[in-house]
Symmetry: C2
Subunit: 297 residues, 2 copies
């Protein structure tokens, strides 16, 4: 037989027929299916919107660490903020050998029978969700700015459409009502151009949806000679590695991206093992206060 | 038959035997093999040492763009700077559905018959190599520092063992002879601790193997009150996104990481198509001069 193990149990003629038919049909040994019996590493796939954002590298790293302990490998599919490419990638994954899927802000076609966990999505869909406590993150940031005495607060918001950014905007509106808002893309240069408009607004502090957007605001402020935090306090979100090498170091909502990846893998592993998985698991976040926030001048 | 297409060409009894044997052996339709005949997306795998370093996200993005045009998907395997895990991941990949492998600083077991391209490895091995012109990058950086008048130049070197870093060290030695050197890890905090020792050396300029190491040197200099570039000129390598938001913006060797990924995919696609592939292809690099370098005080 193709793996040699069937020898003696199936006639030579049938074996030859299987071999020929398998070759004709394009069949090859499936590593995941075989691994279930041999104990060799199995695999899950993680789909992320933009691997060039270091946040997602940390999510992958966390999922990997948890997966290694369970003898799984994790393969990553980056959809490059491209919804059309997301659909093609997910379709390819569904036909592939992954035992299950971790979907960051991604959906599956309705009715698929895959094992999947969704990350940073709204609960109530087909699959269990793990997500960060984004509302608490916004609260921590706003509480900090309000305690410093700021009453004129702006919002540099992501122009990438995702539930996590809707949650930020909704929480800001619930806490402060309408605030000056600019939409910015996820590159320093693009965010700089967008965030420059915020410097024309009557604000003393700015909440940024992400550290990359805050970095863009730093660049805009530097060009205009606006001092952070002397003229403007800035808060980011994610506590990416570079936040602490900015000058001044960035006050930002710290999230455990590796923990989020690990939690997502654990939920998927439980699902694959036939255990019940809570429909929603929420990871706590905290505020890292550095030097980009101060009382208004 | 399992795909239905063999009906009428193979007897019902043989079909049943194939179906039962395939199930027993854990065979499932292989998407890559099938895709070769149906035109559906095929896949290649990219193995990288550390996806939390944004450089590798850009390599993936470049490979992806080239792959999309050729109707391939790219899956990523991150080995987390862990050579043992690298071996397990590569083993899993070899049994998987990938049509070919892009190996960044990774090796395959000897004698495997895979289609593979190696990235940033020394040429002369079993597989074609694509790499950056690291020697030219070092030359650009040193020429710039020498032209500014620096004669006391230090080296903050990567403590991760890889051919690309050996090339940097060899080129510095060839140009300058022995120089003060410290070995630093690839985190800002770890690099800060390691790079602090460089501030005790009698140097007026420092070449860093990577922008992350330069970021660590910035942190150490800030703690000590050492002014960049007033007291110390700093050059990085890679031109990662955050290099331009550092204060002062970092002078660094700009490399086309996306182009490197795209070139690697193109080489693999040519190999898969049976075309000949040059044993070594080298990507040019350039120097981006920003504000972290100035004449010595």
């Amino acid at each position: 037989m193709l793996s040699g193990k069937a020898r003696g149990r199936i006639s030579a003629r049938t074996e030859e027929a299987v071999r020929a038919a398998a070759a004709e049909l394009g069949y090859r040994p499936n590593v995941a299916a075989r691994a279930l019996r041999t104990g060799v590493a199995r695999s899950v796939a993680l789909v992320v919107p933009d691997i060039t954002n270091p946040f997602f590298g940390r999510v992958l790293r966390g999922a990997q660490r948890a997966a290694q302990e369970a003898s799984y490998t994790v393969v990553l599919v980056d959809i490059g903020n491209n919804r059309a490419w997301e659909a093609a990638s997910v379709e390819a994954l569904l036909a592939g050998p992954a035992d299950g899927l971790l979907l960051f802000e991604a959906d599956l076609p309705p009715g698929t029978s895959e094992h999947a966990i969704q990350i940073e999505m709204a609960p109530g869909g087909e699959f269990p969700v793990v997500r960060l406590d984004v509302e608490a993150g916004v609260d921590h940031a706003l509480d900090h700015l309000l305690e410093l005495g700021h009453t004129k607060i702006g919002h540099v918001a992501s122009n990438f459409d995702a539930p996590t950014f809707d949650l930020r905007a909704a929480r800001i509106a619930a806490r402060l009502g309408p605030v000056p808002t600019v939409m910015a893309p996820f590159t320093f240069e693009g965010a700089k151009v967008a965030a420059a408009a915020m410097l024309d607004e009557d604000v003393t502090a700015v909440f940024c949806d992400d550290d990359i957007l805050a970095g863009g605001l730093y660049l805009a402020a530097r060009e205009r000679g606006v001092s952070i935090p002397g003229d403007l306090s800035v808060v980011g979100f994610d506590d990416l590695d570079f936040a602490r090498v900015l000058a001044p170091p960035l006050t930002t909502v710290a999230v455990d991206a590796e923990g989020l990846g690990a939690l997502a893998f654990s939920a998927l592993a439980a699902d694959l093992a036939g255990e019940s998985v809570p429909p929603e698991q929420v990871m706590p976040v905290s505020l890292t206060v550095r030097e980009s926030t101060a009382p208004p001048a």
